[in-house]
């Protein structure tokens, strides 16, 4: 029957790749990438989105290709000066950015709101133009959103640490969380390079790739633990290699399905979701490779003495 047997297969049966031999190359590559990402984080730094920066963003669609000078003139008539007028998406879509008055000034919230109305009035004077989206976030709210976003990230990492610690030995938990932190820095580097705006939706994307990456590590670790019981005398490096090879087909299979699910979103998801989806795609690749090239070598480094006492040759004099 044609649907019965699988037509394709990822990894040939009995694959044995010696991953642990290349463990220092893997760790060094990761360290270089993470350090580069950290440098990028401090300079030039993340492009903060509206959620975290505060301010006003108005997206409008004009009839025919947008003429920035006409738009600027209409804004000037309403006494607002735009910090930026730029195109996005199609040629007739414009994005207008305004800075909010500083928080120290009285009535800054009310003035922020008044500015949004002024921009709307200005756009209403252009024939056929319509406002697609208008967002205004006050300074106090943006600080709070940032704090909450970071809190969610931090607490999630701690919870993951606690859970793995509870389910496995501490060597597993520590190497998983160190790997997650390395994944996180790379995701931040990716955001800096691509200029995707860092906002709440990006925090969600990062949390999701951390969740996915953890999931991947748990599967490999689960196999390591099982094999530790099964092969009581096998050296740890060999045992980790065996576990990675045994789970390799699954690791690649799942990465593939999640990648395939997120790909259409990146390609057709529209301005608001494609950035999210690209970060997801990047995170899937990073998370999958870090399970093999980072988390496993770290486990080997930390657990060499403790997890595998029986494997040492008897040194009785």
């Amino acid at each position: 029957m044609m649907f019965d047997r699988p037509l394709l297969r990822f990894v040939p049966r009995g694959t044995k790749i010696n991953f642990m031999r290349g463990r220092f190359i893997g760790l060094a590559t990761s360290a270089v990438l993470s350090i580069a990402s950290l440098i990028l984080f401090f300079h030039p730094g993340l492009t903060l989105g509206l959620d975290f920066r505060g301010g006003i963003v108005v997206e409008a669609r004009t009839q025919g290709p947008a003429d920035f000078n006409v738009i600027r003139a209409a804004l000037a008539k309403e006494h607002v000066s735009a910090a930026g007028v730029q195109s996005f998406g199609g040629p007739d879509d414009v994005l207008i950015r305004l800075d909010t008055p500083p928080e120290s000034e009285p009535d800054h919230e009310a003035r922020t709101q008044a500015m949004v109305d002024s921009v709307r009035h200005a756009i209403a004077t252009l024939p056929g133009a319509q406002v697609l989206r208008a967002d205004a976030v006050g300074a106090s709210v943006s600080k709070e959103l940032f704090r909450n976003g970071m809190l969610a990230l931090g607490i999630s990492l701690l919870m993951i640490l606690a859970y793995i610690w509870f389910r496995f030995e501490w060597e597993f938990a520590v190497s998983a969380v160190v790997t997650l932190v390395l994944d996180l820095t790379k995701a931040i580097g990716f955001l800096v390079i691509t200029h995707f705006e860092f906002d709440l939706v990006m925090v969600a994307a990062i949390l999701t790739i951390l969740g996915y990456s953890t999931n991947d590590k748990v599967v490999v670790y689960d196999r390591v633990r099982e094999n530790l019981r099964k092969y009581r005398t096998m050296p740890l490096a060999e045992l980790i290699d065996l576990s990675i090879n045994e789970t390799l087909s699954r690791t690649l299979g799942t990465s593939c399905t999640v990648f395939l699910a997120a790909l259409p979103l990146a390609l057709f998801g529209g301005a608001s979701l494609s950035g999210f989806a690209w970060v997801m795609l990047f995170g899937i690749v990073v998370g999958t490779s870090s399970s093999i090239f980072i988390a496993a070598p770290l486990l080997l480094l930390m657990g060499e003495k403790r997890l595998r006492r029986d494997a040492r040759p008897p040194t009785r004099s």
Partner: protein
Amino acid sequence: MMYYSRLRMASVIGVCLIGLALCLPNFIRQPSPSLPWRQIHLGLDLRGGSYLLLQVDMASVATDRLRGLQDQTRQTLLKAGLGYRNLATGPHGVTFTPRTPDETQPDLKALRAMPMNTPGEFKVEEGEGGQIALTLSPDAARQRAYDAVTQSIEIVRRRIDATGAIDPEITRQGEDRIIVELPGISDPERVKNLLGTTAKMTFHLVADSAIGSSVPPAGVEMLPMSDGQGTLPVFSHVDVDGADLTNASASIDQDGGEWAVNFTFDSTGAQEFGDVTRANVGKRFAIVLDNKVIEAPIIHTAITGGNGQITGGFSAQQATDMALLLRAGALPAPLNVIEQRSIGPSLGADSIRAGGYSLAAGFVLVIAFMALFYGRFGWYANIALLANLVLMTAILSLFEATLTLPGMAGMLLTLGMAVDANILINERIREEVARGRSALQAMQAGFERATATIVDSNATALLAHVMLFVFGTGPVRGFALTITIGIVTTLFTTLLLSRMLMVRWYARTRPSTLPV
């Protein structure tokens, strides 16, 4: 592991069928109003609309009460024939010096008899240097702040309902914030203006003697005119409060052809209004809205019917909005809009299309992958995937949850992650077959060993997304919600449904080799 009782099968299939039934309200019209008909709501980012985050000005709640207490103290002392000096408000209360030390005890007695809003709201004590201090208790202040927000929500609801907005959602957030969601209203300017007005209307006698003096005497305030033309001194004491209104409407004034607002008092208000106007014929009576004098007509005759009219040079829209505000009642404190997000209907439609296409494309890709790489067991996983989508939709409908664009992304990712469990089981069965186990043993071992891994890996994902739901705001919560629900449905469809399909197939055909 390899046996499914009839009851167990019936319940798994039953859950799927119930899920299917729960999805129906999203696609067909309600056949009879007696049926429970719950469906998923579209978020503002998909249907268009506005989101406003309002902050209640808590400082003004406190100062208002202090001013009220000062006025109450003055009236009480005057009524008792007692004198005072240096009457002032501090951050937590009111202080004054008695006219003579002998009056301290009568003062204390009179003030302690004053009515309180809540028991123990304030203390009256003799302070330093012979002063008398009225101190508001912190508990009462907290309670008042809480009540102020509750009352604000009620007033906001009334005002928004009066604009004819459809399905507005008004919820409290944190201690002093209110979220207003207005589906379908993509330009919230009018609503913002309505909510930005406190609409506290009071009636004061005009202090004619103080006109022209630069420093108003005690008990008199200089208030600006609403048209911006100068100021007018009025007595601080509120003679009649606009809170006693029962109705207000806008109409064209018959004499001048101008827009006017007509109002009607309840019996208390009508009584007070009658008494004040009777006693002050020939004087000017100021109508004050939010500390601005709208007009100050001369009282020609006592007004006892409890009806009045304001003509302040309004436009039609202004008169209508003002009548609306007076009907809905005054806010206990000013509200500030601190966050606004509005999405036009065309962008929402674009998003639905983009999200829908992506969801469909992702679904097809995952199904194709599973079929190509896992054959028969892959198709079973695909059936489970379809059931997963149905169950997620069913649970979202049951909760009448709001589907946002990030929520759609969450559904898509769930579909990608859901087959992970099937992949784990299938790979495990493959390994066992490679080790030379029989078909039955391989399947058994596959289910058994994979289950612990599946639970572990889903638990970590669940933890991360529950955190995101707790600390996230707005659309991110929608994302976290769909993924959280998705993890639960995934556990059901993979651990129960797809396994059942595999077990049933084995029981039916008893194959010697497995299609892996």
